[in-house]
């Protein structure tokens, strides 16, 4: 896990470094009135003149102590800049996850068990739309419908649970659709298995066949995908956060990249890498728990 996190942070550091140091971006108009010598002094004072491996090594040594440095824009600890946005990101990610699982999986099951029917067609149309419609467009449409024309829900910002509805639905649309399609195909595959035929032959009601026999096995691959999905959702969504002015990690990270705010980028990337690796590990462990045939050395 540590190796993966280190590799990710080194790669992101190197890529950002390749775009040039942030001196001119930080100075802005000041660079126009400063001499080249003054600009170089500023660059040296902030340590931007050192080669990137040296800068990265310094970062790693401090990061190991929990010190990601000071944000070049916010003038306070970079870790704090990211960490204070984590609750909002987790909140929105959790709601989107719950919606995508709570509606996506049942939709897939219903669709599979009524294969070829109007219900199946309708469900898959919804799934197709969910995967095709850009989240930017969906978000704006939902805002206009439920925030402006039918002013039922807050349009932007964070506050009550009502503020979670529109961004949550927008963020959940794509994973919900994917979960529905994946569940459908997985259930359909399992329904052809011999043990399902045996269950039917034994007289088990169809509902029982589906929920007590087929579904448990059908969900194993779905769980894997959903677990990884959780990692993405917890990483924040720039588009949804921007449309709904949601104070999450995704937007902060994109702004930091644009501002060449190296410490914040590193803090954010490290946090995301740790989250992904942890979620992956959790999924792997869960997989072994769910499927006794899988055992790790």
């Amino acid at each position: 896990m540590l190796v993966v996190v280190l590799m990710v942070s080194a790669a992101s550091f190197a890529l950002l470094f390749l775009t040039g140091d942030p001196t001119e971006l930080l100075l802005g108009s000041a660079a126009d009135v400063m001499s080249q010598q003054q600009i170089e002094e500023f660059r040296r004072a902030r340590g931007f003149d050192r080669p990137w491996p040296a800068q990265y090594l310094g970062f790693v040594i401090h990061a190991a102590r929990g010190d990601f440095g000071e944000s070049l824009r916010h003038h306070r600890p970079a870790f704090e800049v990211i960490w204070e946005r984590v609750p909002a990101t987790v909140q929105l990610g959790a709601v989107a996850f719950a919606l995508s699982v709570g509606f996506g999986v049942p939709l897939g099951v219903i669709s599979a068990t009524r294969r070829g029917s109007a219900v199946d067609a309708g469900a898959m149309l919804v799934a197709l739309l969910g995967q095709s419609v850009p989240s930017f467009w969906l978000g704006i449409v939902l805002i206009m419908l439920f925030g402006v024309y039918l002013p039922l829900l807050p349009i932007s910002g964070r506050g009550t649970w009502l503020h979670l509805v529109l961004p949550g639905v927008t963020l959940a649309a794509f994973p919900l659709a994917r979960n529905a399609r994946l569940t459908r195909s997985s259930v359909l595959e399992v329904m052809h298995q011999e043990y399902v035929r045996t269950a039917r032959a034994k007289g088990v009601p169809e509902l029982g066949v589906v929920y007590r026999h087929a579904l448990r096995n059908a969900l194993i691959p779905v769980v894997t995908v959903i677990g990884l999905q959780l990692g993405f959702l917890l990483g924040g969504s720039v588009i949804v956060e921007t449309i709904f002015a949601w104070p999450g990690v995704g937007r902060a990270l994109i702004q930091a990249i644009g501002n060449k705010d190296f410490p914040v980028v590193q803090a954010g990337v490290t946090m995301l890498a740790v989250t992904f690796v942890a979620v992956n590990l959790l999924v792997d462990l869960l997989y072994a728990t769910l499927n006794p045939r899988i055992r790790y050395q």
Binding site: T19, S29, M34, E41, A45, V95, G102, I140, P154, G159
Partner: protein
């Protein structure tokens, strides 16, 4: 075939989904958020987050719009940009390097500390220290100030001495980074806390700062000019369409940066209206004198201006919310005799012919000695209103007179790297915006040969002679006369393609009486609800 047992996949999924939903809902605090504003609160939606309320740590506009309500400065710019008294009731030039300010007596900070010359001295020297130690965000302002010494003669008399004669010191004292701060509180408070809980002397003080979500200011009862609006709520809403939706729904009082193509959407609503003002940001296409040899010829530069149909672009792209210009000086220093270049394709062609650049009928590109009249054209995206689109229009217009351009559009973080070191990364021509200098000479530094903001490396002898004159002239009327002459020279020499002064477009609620300022500052000191 074995089944999964007990804690099966479905059970796990159900538990996870319920648990996460509960976490989200329990964690959702019941607090403000967006809703119809209360009768005593003005809601301002800006495009960026407020990162800090400490003026020495910021020069960004979202921060400044909050800061100007909490702090006061020795001087201030009125709505018409005339310099007015602020905390200083008068000022005079004592000798060529020393300005003396007389402060208003008896003023205090919001925590009761006296606002006297000693406090102003403390603040300016703190700014100087930050500048010397490369701390904060004061590099620009304090390099221009170039302070030598600050003396508090008595409680109401302050003397500021600079290293070189500087006629612009009173203007600089209107900058928020010269705002006085209470010495005892400031020296005893951590930098982190100062950024969230500042103390100033302005009509508002901060009551709530939730990072990335909102800043709430409340009127300070003991301020001599108590404002009429009790509370101000600042929220960051990055997306243009979302800000407009909030205004339409009646949830906001002021929204910034309404795109020209969405103005009609605001105008159609009952809850809002559009307010525009010609801003101070000059948008130009710089012409580098050290690249393509054609750009060293004044006739070619003039031809580029004649070939650009600015008025059609203004109508079609910018909804006529702005005016084309022929100067780079801001109000109130604009020479009224200097107008925008007219759109005259034939004249452009004639000038290029005269300069020796003849049209090649096969390629439709002008040539001289086998070299094509082709320019690399660098353009930012998303930094200025319709920047990339304006570049495309200009490229298209220039093509009509046989000037070919290779247009490349860059994200701002990349573009700014090119603009560094006086535009070392630019190719032949580039679109850029430049903020105001708040005084003629500072504005015209854009094309002065030694100025860091002169990215075209322009050198105009007639202009430079006038510049030298102006640098040693302190009489206001004489400075103005020189300023007007310099603008005539700039127009004739055409070191840039003149475009416009970017219009600032706001959406404003019908209940708010407020007019925008030219300097992009949203000042609500005198605003009121209808």
């Amino acid at each position: 075939m074995s089944h999964v047992t007990g804690s099966g996949a479905w059970l796990w999924l159900r538990r996870a989904a319920v648990g996460l939903m509960a976490l989200a809902l329990i964690g959702a605090p019941y607090s403000g958020g967006s809703a119809a504003p209360s009768p005593d609160t003005a809601v301002l939606l800006q495009g960026g987050d407020i990162l800090t309320l400490e003026p020495y740590f910021s020069s960004s506009l979202p921060d400044t719009n909050a800061i100007i309500h909490m702090y006061e400065t020795l001087t201030r710019f009125g709505d018409d940009l005339k310099l007015l008294p602020g905390l200083a009731e008068s000022w005079r030039l004592r000798d060529s390097r020393t300005w003396e300010f007389k402060l208003v007596a008896g003023r205090r900070f919001q925590n009761g500390e006296p606002l006297n010359a000693a406090a102003v001295r403390y603040s300016l020297l703190r700014g100087k220290e930050f500048y010397e130690k490369k701390l904060g965000d004061v590099q620009y302002e304090y390099s221009l100030l170039d302070l030598d010494a600050v003396e508090a003669v008595d409680d109401v008399t302050l003397r500021i001495r600079t290293k070189e004669p500087n006629p612009l010191i009173p203007l600089h004292m209107a900058h928020t980074q010269t705002a006085p701060m209470p010495p005892r509180y400031t020296s005893q408070t951590s930098v982190n806390d100062l950024q969230r809980k500042p103390i100033g002397s302005g009509p508002y003080r901060v009551v709530e700062f939730v990072p990335n979500e909102r800043v709430v200011l409340e009127a300070w009862a003991d301020h001599p000019d108590r404002p009429r609006i009790r509370r101000l709520l600042f929220r960051p809403v990055p997306e243009d369409a979302t800000r407009i939706a909030e205004l339409t729904a009646g949830n906001a009082d002021i929204i910034v940066n309404v795109p020209p193509d969405l103005i009609s959407q605001v105008e159609r609503t009952r809850s809002g209206r559009v307010e525009t003002v010609a801003g101070l940001r000059r948008i130009i296409v710089g012409l580098r004198m050290d690249r393509h040899p054609a750009l060293r010829d004044k006739r070619v530069r003039q031809a580029l201006n004649y070939a650009f149909d600015c008025r059609t672009m203004m109508r079609n792209l910018l909804a006529n919310k702005g005016e084309c210009t022929g100067t780079v000086a801001n109000v109130p220093d604009q020479n009224p005799a200097v107008k925008a270049y007219p759109f005259e394709l034939q004249r452009a062609g004639a000038l290029l012919d005269e300069a020796g650049w003849r049209m090649n009928p096969r390629t439709n590109v002008r040539e001289q000695g086998g070299r094509a009249l082709e320019f690399g054209f660098d353009c930012p995206r998303g930094r200025y209103i319709k920047d990339a689109e304006i570049c495309q229009v200009i490229a298209s217009d220039l093509a009509k007179v046989g000037v070919k351009t290779d247009l490349q559009v860059f994200d701002w973080s990349v573009f700014v790297g090119k603009s560094a070191r006086r535009g070392a990364g630019f190719r032949d021509i580039y679109l850029i915006g430049s903020g105001p200098g708040f005084e003629c000479q500072a504005d015209l530094a854009l094309v002065q040969k030694d100025s860091g903001s002169n990215r075209s490396l322009t050198d105009m002898p007639r202009f430079e002679a006038l510049w030298d004159d102006m640098s040693v002239t302190f009489d206001v009327k004489k400075r103005r006369d020189i300023c007007f002459k310099m603008q005539e020279v700039i127009y004739d020499e055409a070191p840039v393609i003149f475009i416009w002064f970017q219009t600032d477009i706001y959406g404003v609620s019908q209940r708010l009486e407020w007019k925008p300022r030219v300097d992009e500052r949203i000042r609500l000191h005198n605003a009121r609800f209808r």
